[in-house]
Amino acid sequence: MADAVRPRRWRPAPLIANPWLRHGLTLGAAIYLALALGTVDVNWARVVDGLDRGARFIGGFLQPNFSSRWDDIVQGMIESLTMTVTSTVVGIAISIPIGIGAARNIVPRPVYYVCRSIIAVSRSLQEIIVAIFLVAMVGFGPFAGFLTLSFATIGFLSKLLAEDIEDIDPASVEAIRATGSGWFSMLSYGVLPQVMPRLIGLSLYRLDINFRESAVVGIVGAGGIGATLNTAIDRYEFDSAAAILLLIIGIVMVSEYTSSIIRKRVQ
């Protein structure tokens, strides 16, 4: 009767109830960690060499140099911003029909499958890989970036729009249908008013993402601020690179703040 004598201590319930599974997972994780850390072969001499550059980079954040590459930065920013706006608009224009087509509850089955496959293709390809191919096809410059970002927008926006349409309240659709309306009136009076606030929110969010991605596609030659950034880093001009990064962070912060205000007003 040891239990009766010694007061038992309460313990919180473990996350995984089965002890075999719990300890097995812990052991597996430990083995994996050991193996994975073993593959990290660090060239310490190189790291020590790089420390000086790392310090210069951190110093660059404290004293960013906007002036020496100012013309390149302006050019890159203009390309990035115009690319962001046009690709978001075109992306939205294409995503809306595809998103509607990918909503199981309002379209026939064959349309649903076609639209879902378009979404799957767009989502599974990385922006930067798409950019490499588009640069090879249409040449260097922001037009390739525009195509890349539009393509990426389709997968993102259509998927979320379709899921949103699948979640709508069927009662209002039924009410519009009961007035004898056709499919398009049902769409514009029954479905779209319900998903509009979220669609606006998602579009603003995608505008943000497209701006951030526009800094990436430049690395492979698709125009934008990424090209300027790449050059600055390649030449070890960390103070210019820090200036560009600070500009990107600043613009993202402003646009996040603005879109949160717009979202609040819309919803």
Partner: protein, 272 residues
Amino acid sequence: MAVQQLANGRFAWQRRTARAEWLNWLAWLAGVALTVFCWRVMTESTIWDYVWDAPTQAADIGGRMVPPRWSYFPNILKPLWDTLNIATLGTLLAVFISVPIAFLAARNTTPSVAFVRPVAILVIVSSRSINAIIWALLLVSILGPGILAGIIAIALRSIGFIGKLLYEAIEEIDAKQVEAISATGASGPQTLAYAIVPQIMPAFAGITVFRWDINIRESTVLGLVGAGGIGLNLESSLNTLAWPQVTLILLVILGTVVISEWISARIRHAII
């Protein structure tokens, strides 16, 4: 919604008032004007001959890409393993850094709303604004090429993601449980361990697995800038115009992404 009186004295329902109609129209006009302006600025330097030539180029590249060079497969097993390690170790590192930051950023756990919270939020926003590839680009030039740069790049980008979602989860916890625990006389750390942590644990696990899945996707391309993994093979195959190898690598990346997405969906389903 508005009602308008018609000439014959009857009332008709309108979707918007006249004022709203005008505002709506103006907003559309401004939007279209901005888009057209941006389009013109953007395409100033575009060489349209190349663009019209794109279908030919696409057909040409497409023709070279098939069939995939299957015999190359053994060469990418090691890089694939590196890619998985970059994503997993990067996520782990990010978890260690982002958990304290999330507690500092959440309104109900931060030591100071006026001073500490804005700093934590700034760290989160900065990390979120810069893509992992750009971090990798920087780190490769600082630390040299290799998977260490990849791991740190993934971690730096993930801090913002995990930090943001986690601090939002902390702000949404049920305050009654915290009150109940502190009413027993529990100290600060004890309240944290018995009232707050159990409430956010499922959200935390879900967020981490979700980010791990995104990181697998991102780590496959980090090699393009020299940060290790399967992207290195992609880069060298692209540079040598070995298109059949490119196809094989892309197929492997696609398969990896699909599998990791499936695993992450299963785990999140089991937790939540």
